[in-house]
Symmetry: C2
Subunit: 283 residues, 2 copies
Amino acid sequence: MKVCIVGLGLLGGSFALAVRKVVKDCTVLGVDVNEEHARTALERGIAGEITTFEAGIAQADITVLATPVDILASQVVPALDLLKPGAILTDLGSTKEIICQKAAGHALRGRFVASHPIAGTEDSGPKAAFEGLLKDKMMIICDGEYSDADAVKTIEGLYEKVGMKIVYMPAKAHDSHIAFVSHLSHISSFALGATVLEKEKNEKNIFNMAGSGFSSTVRLAKSSPDMWAPIFSQNRGNISQALALYIEKLQQFKETIDADDQASAHRFMKETNDIRRVLKGDD
Amino acid sequence: MKVCIVGLGLLGGSFALAVRKVVKDCTVLGVDVNEEHARTALERGIAGEITTFEAGIAQADITVLATPVDILASQVVPALDLLKPGAILTDLGSTKEIICQKAAGHALRGRFVASHPIAGTEDSGPKAAFEGLLKDKMMIICDGEYSDADAVKTIEGLYEKVGMKIVYMPAKAHDSHIAFVSHLSHISSFALGATVLEKEKNEKNIFNMAGSGFSSTVRLAKSSPDMWAPIFSQNRGNISQALALYIEKLQQFKETIDADDQASAHRFMKETNDIRRVLKGDD
C-alpha cells in the first residue's frame, strides 16, 4: 500500500511513523514545501521517499492532508483531482466545516473522508513527531454519509490499526464543540501568557515563582501561530461565541472578587469542580 | 525536635512526611479540626500523634501553620502567644501581606518566619499528601528582616533539608507577582471549566472530544474552593488587576478574530511564544 502524507509536521509525521510501524508492505511518500522539514522527515524515517504533491497523490492508495488548515482547505480539490481510481483522500485538520465545503460537489466527493484526531502537543514540525502520538486517541470522522462506504471502511481500519477510537459527527457540530473543548483552551492559554509577559516584562526572574499550575495553564501558549491562526480564522464564528461566554464568566468572577463576595466565589468554584467528574466520564 | 503542623492537608501533610523522612529524632504533632483528616494523617504516618492547637504549639520547637489562609491569618497571633521560649512559627500560606500584618507588632514577631512554597496539585486533604511534593520546589520567605536571624536560619535549614530552594521577597511584592503567576492561572482555569460546562451541560459525551490541551488548561478547576476562596479574598486587589489585564487581552484577541485579522492574531501568538524561552529561564 502507498500512503502519501502531505505536510510532515507533528500530526502528519506522527501518523506516518505509526502507519509504517503497523501496516505491512507500506510505502510512505512524503510531501512538504519546507525542504528542511522534508529532509528531517527522511532522516527520521517518517517518509520512505520525498516527492511532489502531484506525483505523490497520483500514485497513492491513500492520501492524508496534514497541512495547516488554510493550506489544507486549498488542497482538497486539487488532491481529489489527482486521485487514481479507487484511491482515498483523508485529512487531519482541526476544523471540518470549511474543509468539507471545499469537497462538496466534487465528482469524487465520495472518495474523501474528513477526519480530525484529538491529539497534539505544543510542539510542531517533524522533529516533534513520535510514533505513539495517536495511540488511544479519538478520531472524529465528519459527514461520513457523503463518503463512499468502502472509503470510510478502509480509513477506519487504518485509524484503528494505529490504535485510535473512532467517533462520528456532522462537521458543523464538530466545529461548534471543538471551539469550546479545544480552540478556547488555546486562546485562554495565549492570553494568560500575554498577560503575564506584559506584567513581568522587566522582571524575568519572577518566573521562578511560577509553579506547575502556571506551566500547565500556559503550556498551549507555546503552540505554533502558523498552525493556529488559520484554525481561529476558519472557526471564528464558533470561537467568538466561546470567547464571549468565557469573558462573561471571567467578568462575573471578577465582580465577586471586587465585591469580596466569598460565598459566590466559593459556589462558582464548587460548581465548576464538577469538571473532575465529567472528565473522568463518570456520569 | 518537635514539629507541630496545624492543618494536615496537601501541603501540611506533604511537609510533615518530608520532615519525618529527613530529620532524625523528629516528632510530628498534628493538629486538624477535621477529625477524619486527623485520623487519615495518623494512619498515613503524616503525624506521630494528634493533639490540640494549644497543646501542640506549647510544646513544639517549630510550628507550621498550613490551614486555608483565612483561618491561618486568624491563627498567627494565638500561635505566637503559645510559643515556648526560643520556639519558631512559620506558615505555608499562598498570601503573605495580610498574614504578615497579623504578626506585626506582636512581642514575638521575630519568632515568625513567613513563607510560601511554590508547590501544590489540584488535589487536597491528607490523602493527597506525598513526601516528594516540596522537593526541588521554590520556598519564598517574606519580610525576613522582621524575623530573628536565628529563626530564619533554622527555618531555612529545615526547608533546605526537604530539598527546597529559598528565595526572599517583600510580602507586598510576593502578593502582587503571585496574583499573576499563580492565582490568575486558577481563575482562568475555573472560568474555562465553567464555560465548557455551561455550553455542554446536556451533552456530557462531548467531553470525549477534549484532548490533553483541554485537560491541561482546565486541571486547576478541580482545586478546592475552601482553600482558594480565602486566597482570592485576601489578595483581591492584585487579582483584580491581573484579571482586568487578562480580560483585556482576551477582548483584544476576540476583536482580531471577529475582524478575521489573521496577521494580528499571528503576531499576538508569535510574541506570546516567548513564554517558552522565559519558562526555561533562558534569557
